[in-house]
């Protein structure tokens, strides 16, 4: 019997199976699609990345971007492979690469990691490109620019260039020497819909929509049989209990510790037989009643954010996102609206029977569809001239509780601000800022004199004191950082390169996919202490 039963299933669904089985591309990218889905993958595939220099660190970064499938990369590097490069860079052909173009040797070895990625070597100096309009435009046409250990002069010119227009690509600055490193992302604004934060969306227990309220109202504990009793979803239990509490407390929900304990006790007392897991769940989930807000405070803050607008062209940056954000503000303030963020259709699991759960899920879905329609009508009336991709609107509604906006600063903003320098040096742990400033000093000194033997702990220290200025206390940790940099001022260690390769690629993926939250500020890496830290600016 069972055999024939299963065959029926198989026969009946063969067509589905053929369609559902993933293609080779999906199989290849399976482990990453589970993180950023098809939308993130599409963004990666249309990205074009410029990497300045083909150092061990640069090729490590690229490896981690070619593997997940960016669209295109260009390595810009005028240098030839040295004996040292051939020893520390995995994407060169060892001894046989020595004397050949570093970019041209590295590109094929990176391209072979993924057939669908296009790569190009450009054997030019960035300083020369930065002198011509064509060169500048060429740089601006990339999605993202990454520079490793670029001397300060051309780095500042590059940073200025990529800060001219609002829509210029982000610039990732990476510096390393020996066990120490830091990096910074220069960007104007990063608008994130899918931040993947772990905050759960509200399920409206304090403000139930009509269908949900009706279910709770119609529930009469005295009339349900024991099986049903053990299957009432916690959402309904909590709504009902909250109603009763409010009726007895002038409309207020439990507020003090004692009241909350009392509320939970009432739920416990509803249990009629042992092992009623739904009531146990209601007790642990009761926290939702006093923690769920109509609009979480971090979203509320975004409502006062004005879009970045170019003074020359009057163009707005990320206009679609800001239109959606303004619409969201109007939605929560609308008298017809729920006074909440729009309902997300994702319902957490609850200890209940299939029928109740599916019923509840459908209610939430129906309500979420109603609110999505309200939102879209509001959007259309506020922005009749704007066409926004339907998927983006739906995603915004679904993830409204986890949207984020980051505003970045130009490279050098920290160093230009004496108060910020002083604050960074006072922050804990103090060695984060001292390492960062020591790396600044190293970069300044190496630009003045490229001979690494001129780098000593003393010259580094006095350079730090020089730009930090008088009257600012520099923590003693600086001695460790300058000592370490003097030990290995030009070392691109394979492990440090690999570590940075992973870090920068993670951040690049976040910038490109606009999913997850990139770092804003200087990230400092100390591989002696095996730790990272952030210097805010």
């Amino acid at each position: 019997m069972s055999q024939s039963g299963s065959q029926t299933i198989e026969q009946a669904t063969t067509a589905i199976q053929v369609d559902a089985q993933p293609d080779n591309k999906t199989r290849r990218y399976d482990r990453q699609l589970r993180l950023w889905a098809a939308s993130g993958q599409a963004a990666l595939e249309s990205s074009r990345i410029l990497v300045i220099s083909a150092t061990a660190t640069s090729t490590s970064i690229l490896k981690n971007l070619v593997l997940p499938g960016i669209g295109h990369f260009t390595i810009l590097d005028p240098k030839n492979v040295s004996a040292a490069d051939a020893g520390n860079n995995f994407f060169l052909n060892g001894y046989s690469s020595i004397g050949k173009s570093r970019a041209e040797e590295a590109v094929p070895l990176l391209k072979e990691l993924n057939d669908s990625v296009d790569g190009e070597a450009v054997v030019k100096r960035v300083e020369d490109l930065l002198k011509t309009d064509d060169g500048k435009q060429w740089i601006k046409n990339f999605t993202l620019v990454i520079a490793h250990n670029l001397p300060n002069g051309p780095l500042e010119t590059l940073s200025d260039l990529l800060w001219e227009e609002l829509e210029d690509p982000p610039l990732m600055i990476v510096r390393s020497a020996g066990f120490l490193a830091d990096f910074y992302i220069q960007f104007r604004e990063q608008c994130i819909i899918e931040s993947h934060t772990e905050t759960a969306p509200s399920i409206r227990l304090t403000k139930p929509f009509p269908a949900l309220q009706e279910w709770a109202d119609n529930l009469d504990y005295s009339k349900v049989d024991p099986t049903e009793h053990a299957h009432i979803p916690f959402a309904i239990i909590l709504i009902k209990e909250a109603d009763q509490w409010r009726a007895e407390h002038n409309g207020a929900l439990p507020n003090t510790y004692e009241e909350k304990a009392q509320f939970k006790k009432r739920i416990r007392e509803r249990v009629v037989k042992i092992d009623e897991e739904n009531f146990e769940e209601a007790e642990t989930q009761a926290v939702r009643l006093w923690s769920e807000k109509g609009v979480p405070s971090d979203i509320e803050e975004l409502f006062s954010l004005e879009p970045l607008t170019s003074s020359s062209s009057k163009q707005t940056l990320n206009p679609e996102f800001h239109a959606l954000l303004k619409t969201l503000h109007a939605f929560v303030n609308s008298p017809e609206g729920p006074g909440n963020l729009p309902m997300s259709s994702t319902l957490p699991d609850m200890k209940t029977d299939t029928e109740s759960y599916v019923k509840l899920q459908r209610m939430y879905k129906a309500q979420s569809a109603i609110e999505a329609t309200q939102f879209k009508e509001l959007l259309a009336s506020k922005y009749p001239q704007l066409t926004i991709d339907e998927d983006m609107v739906d995603s915004f509604i679904k993830h409204a509780h986890q949207i984020k906006v980051l505003r970045g600063k130009k490279y050098g903003a920290l160093e230009a601000d004496k108060d910020a320098i002083s604050a960074a040096l006072q922050a804990w742990p103090s060695d984060t800022a001292t390492t960062h400033f020591a790396l600044n000093a190293l970069s300044i000194l190496l630009e003045k004199n490229s001979d690494p033997t001129t780098i000593t702990a003393e010259t580094l220290k006095s350079e730090v004191e020089n730009f930090v200025g008088q009257g600012v206390d520099i923590p003693e940790d600086l001695d460790n950082a300058v000592g370490e940099l003097a030990r290995s001022p030009t070392a691109d260690l394979p492990n440090t390169a690999a570590f940075l390769g992973g870090m920068i690629a993670q951040e690049a993926i976040k910038m490109i996919t606009k999913q997850y939250v990139p770092v804003n500020g200087w990230c400092v890496v100390d591989l002696i202490e095996s730790k990272t830290g952030i210097v805010n600016n």
Binding site: T13, A20, L35, S82, A83, Y95, F179, S488, Q506, N520
Partner: protein
Amino acid sequence: MTTVNDDATSSDWDGRYYHVDQVLNTPGPRTEDSFQAGDAVKDFLRNQCKILVIGAGGLGCEILANLALTGFKDIHVIDMDTIDISNLNRQFLFRPKDVGNPKALVAAEFIMQRVPGVKVTPYFGKIQDKDEDYYLQFNIIVCGLDSVEARRWINATLVNMVDEENPESLKPLIDGGTEGFKGQARVILPTISSCYECSLDMLNKPTAFPICTIANTPRLPEHCIEWASVLEWPRVHGEKKLDTDDPEHIGWLYNTALTRAKEFKIEGVTWSLTQGVVKNIIPAIASTNAIIAASCCNEAFKIATSSAAFLNNYFMLIGTEGVYSYTFEHEKRKECPVCGGESLDITISKEWTVERLIEMLVEKQDIQIKKPSLSSGIKQIYFQAPPQLEQATRPNLEKKVSELVEDGGEVTVTSSTLPFNLSLRIKYT
């Protein structure tokens, strides 16, 4: 064909180690006095040190490349897996033509081709195939594994191997792990620092769905998939083992789960979800593996060279929201069954049966012993194997623990998959 490019020393062209030598020629401000800057440390690293890499997957590929570039020349690698297409998004030593071939062999060959003078000796098989003599030959062991079970085994094996009379028997174990944008790297000095077993409770609890939910009240697509794999597969296919790498088997599960989902009006059963649930797939990307592998290799380099102090003892990274990391010393657990020596006190109801106790041992976060066997002194309480002993002790499953063990009595728990004994001191409420 396994070839080594040239003899290990002649392939060291002038300037090859320009970068690494900067930290080997000079101590830094925080370097310990034991550091033998210059030729001595280079000779040890490049000509004497023997290092073992366990796992040639996501972390393993990265670890092998980093070790080779930093100057380790005698590297061994163990992996029991063959290459799958889904490995290619991060396991960068493999190409589509390598699918189906053993990871250890392909990875070793690739490293030797790319980094001349490095010898990588692969073993395609299980870590459990090797004995103490094998593990004793290495100076350092680096693990890039995705299995908790394998980590527990190597950890316990290395702790057991420590002989106080012989300092060479203590092998530093460096362990890395990743999940999505998160990961951790740690250094374990067996018997001296906290071991892998000490931190079992830090693991994410595996999502287990109660059988009654799967059988009677499915609500989520996952419940339907579990029903197909746990209940329907054995019912329909009898003895035939489910192979989660076989697309036909996944196809059958997917269709069976989908049919059940339709029956219960549950949405969301997809091929990808089916595969994810039955294979317990953990998202994995090249960049996170790169960070964690680099961290592991950096510690291996510091231990081998003393050029800087090594990690004491845990580095945790969360890259989902900005870059957050936490470096701390994980404490030893006194009642750790591997390195602690003290018995674990547990308090249970007098009414508990042996079966209920076993259930707890399987589930409890800091124990998690699959198929435990129990004895008290010379008394056999329950043994999973051999079959005759299992049969003889089976009636005890229904007996109350309190009938077999007195209050405050000790119970020894063993498991065939793990080389250690856990001793419990039982108290009754």
